[in-house]
Amino acid sequence: MTAARQSGLAQRRRYRWINIGVVIGSALVCTLLLPMRLPGMVLLGVGPSWLLMWLVVWSVQRSGVEGAIAGFILGLIHDGLTGYFPTHTIGLTLVGFLTARIQKQRFIQEDFVSVAIIVFGMTVIAQTTMALQISVHQLISNTSPYPGLPEIWLQHQRIALSSAILSSLWAPAIYYPLSRWWAHYEQVMTPPGG
């Protein structure tokens, strides 16, 4: 009896560490995909937002705070890869929080299609926060290097639409393995009979 409980405990501890590895590893893979342009990953010169897809998959089953923290961390990493301004942290924190909230209200059932739809909407939101930052910078600063507002929002249209289409098409590729793993993980971690 105690031996079985001991082995169960050891197994759960091992699974916890594997889970941490899976979470960090999958986020790392998404980060490494960002500078890559493989065939089928470019539309009008824009690639999919891999970190945003990962964030949506992470947030759908979690609380708003967890989603926002993950979004903030991913935003910092993404800023390191590109430049500090406009920052990704605002958009991704918002996306992490909102995705978790949507799920709470049970508007949308959780499956492939709905995750793709959420990713589509969230990409548009994230790109809009980027365009807003640039617009504010353009309006406030006299020496702003950015072009005028009409041009910024024309770019926003192009970037947001193509990025949203591509991201929602690629979202299942991240959603499927991760949600399968987390379902399995939950099953192992719930105490028997509890």
Binding site: L32, P35, L76, I77, T82, G83, Q127, M130, Y146
Partner: protein, 277 residues
């Protein structure tokens, strides 16, 4: 107090992990994603471009040579008027393969396969088949990030090589860039070749940039033209990194007899460079 302790007992591991992740992410942000780019370079190593697509880029190279020829002819004419020569040749560059594109949609950057260990430093100038590509903004030990000419924050002092009308070029997220003139009535025609200007602080002079394709001279406050870049930024696979240190700001001192024909008001040039910190 009790509630706090209970919270700590319950969430100590999670809080620790979150703090660790935030610190790690901040560190990654500080060094410009060097860890990620090193890993990226290592993983994509088998896929780095070989000389296979060189044939496609040959035509761009021929165009670059043509532009250099036009430029040299114009220079030759001016040199004949004065006795002494002016420009010193560029030092030899380091060839590098393009291994990645910009990680964000609002930036125009490329990642190249040479870094600090190959002697590359920030502010080095990157050229390729067709002319100017951009300048290095961040380096990691084995890779570096290049801000392209087409990035909206990029500013390059440029001049029309036929008439020596000066202005600056700003990126517009594509193969076409915009050139604004300092002069109210610049001497420029469709088809003119545009090269980097001697007043540029961030780039050596006389590197071909592109060709004028569209005029909008009535534009206020400054006349502007559209320039098509000769370097094919979206398919370029090999580039050359030329060591370069930004010049000090001494525009009036650098004035030479050759540039006397240039209008006076170019000293009011807007800040050249980019906003990427």
């Amino acid at each position: 107090m009790f509630a706090l302790r209970r919270w700590w007992n319950q969430y100590a591991l999670k809080a620790g992990l979150v703090a660790l992740m935030i610190v790690a992410a901040l560190g990654m942000r500080e060094n410009g994603g060097a860890v990620i780019y090193e890993m990226y370079r290592w993983i994509t190593r088998p896929f780095h471009p070989g000389p296979a697509r060189e044939a496609i880029l040959q035509s761009s190279y021929a165009q670059e040579l043509q532009q250099r020829l036009v430029e040299l002819e114009s220079q030759n004419r001016s040199l004949r008027q004065i006795v002494e020569g002016e420009s010193q040749p560029l030092p030899g560059g380091t060839p590098a393969a393009v291994i990645g594109r910009s990680a964000g949609d609002w930036w125009q950057q490329i990642v190249i396969s040479r870094g600090e260990r190959d002697g590359i430093t920030p502010d080095d100038v990157v050229t390729g088949p067709g002319g100017l590509i951009g300048r290095v903004v961040a380096v990691s030990p084995n890779s570096s990030r290049v801000l392209l000419v087409s990035d909206p924050t990029s500013r390059i002092g440029a001049r029309v090589s036929r008439s020596r009308a000066t202005g600056y070029i700003r990126g517009a997220m594509g193969q076409r860039v915009v050139m604004e003139f300092f002069d109210k009535i610049p001497d420029v025609k469709v088809g003119d070749v545009v090269v980097t200007s001697a007043y540029s602080k961030l780039f050596p002079q006389d590197i071909p940039i592109g060709r004028v394709v569209d005029l909008n001279l009535s534009k206020s406050p400054a006349p502007e033209v559209t320039v098509e870049l000769t370097a094919p930024l979206s398919i370029v696979e090999w580039v050359e990194v030329v060591p370069f240190a930004p010049k000090a700001i001494d525009v009036p001192a650098a004035r030479e007899p050759l540039q006397e024909a240039i209008p006076r008001n170019e000293e009011a040039a807007p800040e050249e460079g980019d906003r990427t910190p």
